[in-house]
Symmetry: C2
Subunit: 441 residues, 2 copies
Amino acid sequence: MQEIDIIITGGKALLLDPQNTIIDQSALAINGGEIIAIGKMGELSKQFKAKKTIDARNSLIMPGFINCHTHAAMTCFRGMADDLELMDWLNNYIFPAEAKNVNHELAYWGTLLACAEMIKSGTTTFCDMYIFEDETARAAKEAGMRCLVGEVLFDFPSPNFKSPAEGLAYTRMLLEKWQNDPLVNILVEPHALYTCSPALLEAARKLASDYNVPLGIHLLENKSEKEQLIQKLGKGAVSFLKEINYLSEKLIAFHCVCLDENDRSLFAEYGCKVSHSPASNMKLASGIAPVPDMLKAGITVGLGTDGCASNNTLDMFKEMSLTAKLHKAARLDPTVMDAKTVVRMATIDGARTLGMGKITGSLETGKRADIILIGLNKPHLTPLYNEYSHLVYAGGGADVDTVIINGKIVMENRRLLTMDENDILQKVREIAVRIKKSFSV
Amino acid sequence: MQEIDIIITGGKALLLDPQNTIIDQSALAINGGEIIAIGKMGELSKQFKAKKTIDARNSLIMPGFINCHTHAAMTCFRGMADDLELMDWLNNYIFPAEAKNVNHELAYWGTLLACAEMIKSGTTTFCDMYIFEDETARAAKEAGMRCLVGEVLFDFPSPNFKSPAEGLAYTRMLLEKWQNDPLVNILVEPHALYTCSPALLEAARKLASDYNVPLGIHLLENKSEKEQLIQKLGKGAVSFLKEINYLSEKLIAFHCVCLDENDRSLFAEYGCKVSHSPASNMKLASGIAPVPDMLKAGITVGLGTDGCASNNTLDMFKEMSLTAKLHKAARLDPTVMDAKTVVRMATIDGARTLGMGKITGSLETGKRADIILIGLNKPHLTPLYNEYSHLVYAGGGADVDTVIINGKIVMENRRLLTMDENDILQKVREIAVRIKKSFSV
């Protein structure tokens, strides 16, 4: 009998492997942070002696969710300003609030709060773009979350840098510092085509290429951005990206609400990835991304919550529900975006979007153990005919009981094990008092 | 000092009264099922000596949600068939499943499950249309929920009646039997204009009028229904309703996806009510109801989840989130359907929709005590700038801790006090096994 760290027994396992295998009365063996065996409980429990056994009867076991786009520390601005015109919202609320309040402390505590919320709703990996991302990385590592983070780069000063050159230098520092971390990964993130000069875009591309990491960028979030870019660039945004050598398997484009047929062909040809954020796109009235057409073209699409100023949660269940429903409503076709497709987008396709498809996003032997348990013994999840349907149309973040990341239990029976939840809530409440004051002066 | 049943102290109370009053550090006094005083904790606690004190620090206190349209017992079919063409879904799944399986037992246990789910997500009143509604009423009463229920009436036989005349007689029996119940109310519910003959519609109208109760009907759920009705009736559905004297303050029209400008004028003129079901409309790709225009016309609009075959939950938080987001996306206008408007739709406007605006839907002295407590001490509800925003954009059913209906505590700290939750889950699982079998033969 082999000694191992953890065995999870008795649950119904949704592997999200290429065959979408489902195993009833399953067992999963975890050792050294890795999934080393998956099978029927009866067979596997004889082979292993585990230090820790997790009883998963009446539970679904599945890969943790992959949140492909957020601004974690913006939890501090959650619900500060809603239901406003985009430019009013940005210019009169978000930008001034950020300019006055974002600092190391906010980045750190805001990210810890985000990690608490993400773990409590079943997310095990997130991709982040914000300011002071070294704090984001530090907080995520403390929380025990897998992440891909990058400092937002643009032509104007940020609370963290006075010039694009400083922003690039900071990003290079991140790339060096976190190079061999088991959880923290760094990407290069020019904010958008309308906020970055060609020189900055080129320097960002070169930096990403030097370190062989992804490039992340907001792209075509709404019609007005699309029109503005045609004015500015004299061509479509995606044609321009092609010209400046941005189109590759390592490009992660956030939003892509206005990705037209030619753009989709180019994205498919080059293997570019898309992160879809229906909650944010709906709440900000940005438009409806042509996701069914992207999938038809063969583009890999993951889901991202966007930040808490525009969502206002990091719960991937909500994102799945909206993804399944929004496109049905928009196309008057109830067959598009079926539940299974959407669950794959929130897990394995999200992992592929972030370039992590080999290590996470599904339950397969050899992958890192990023696993969640969802308790089924609840009125709103009864009866059970179809697991994917429950995840997309009935479930919610609060249904997640236990979360394992990289083989470590970070939440057990809804208790966070890596963080002091009350301490985080208290600290962010204090930061919020300061934010409120900055608006009343 | 006056002796009373319950006092709720220390919470932040959202009254949803005409002024949308919010009271910090509040106290609510409840006696004989009625709210007898609302004010600041310091003042009120001196006046009353309560048998039961509920400590509501770190909680929101608000009126329970009003679910204006559901088919409660259809919880038994939750997730049985999704992502299908409407006619495929109805003809090959829902109708055969109902014909083979709906009986007294399913109606009773399915409703108990629905009540468990509704209470656990903060709903205190629901309006129901289904088969064997005497069982629905019995289950709701046991659960301690306020309800307005009616037997579905149509021209063809149902599992409960062989002819429309039998359906009407059954409805009359319900009206007599439940006439003086404190929780159960009966309405008359012809299914829709495309399933009811003029004679049945007239008999239903007369019955509702005789007992002075509302009439509920599915109306203009999608474009194909609208076109079909013009063919059948030789005029628009709402003009036809006017002709047959259906337009009144006591008409509750479910869905109203295709309510055009003339229809809206007529609805406003006659005081007809609308129940909006965005989750179902999106999932079935029925279309997008012109709710912002209805509100502009002065129509009272409540929210309804629809049944669990087409939603698949009864969580009004999800309905609020979709209501706020869907119309922003559809109109490319982030200012429509702001959070406060949506919370009013889910509470006081819902109560008005059901003709219960005088007794529930807001926290006001003299109203029945239908009250929920929402725990705020959670990552996804931190920080707190705006209560309405949290309810609509961040919260979920699982955030509801305690529920009081008609002055009785039916859930405390998420434990149901009126029902044996495990017993209900077990019974519905057994029914689901039978449903599954009925499909494999």
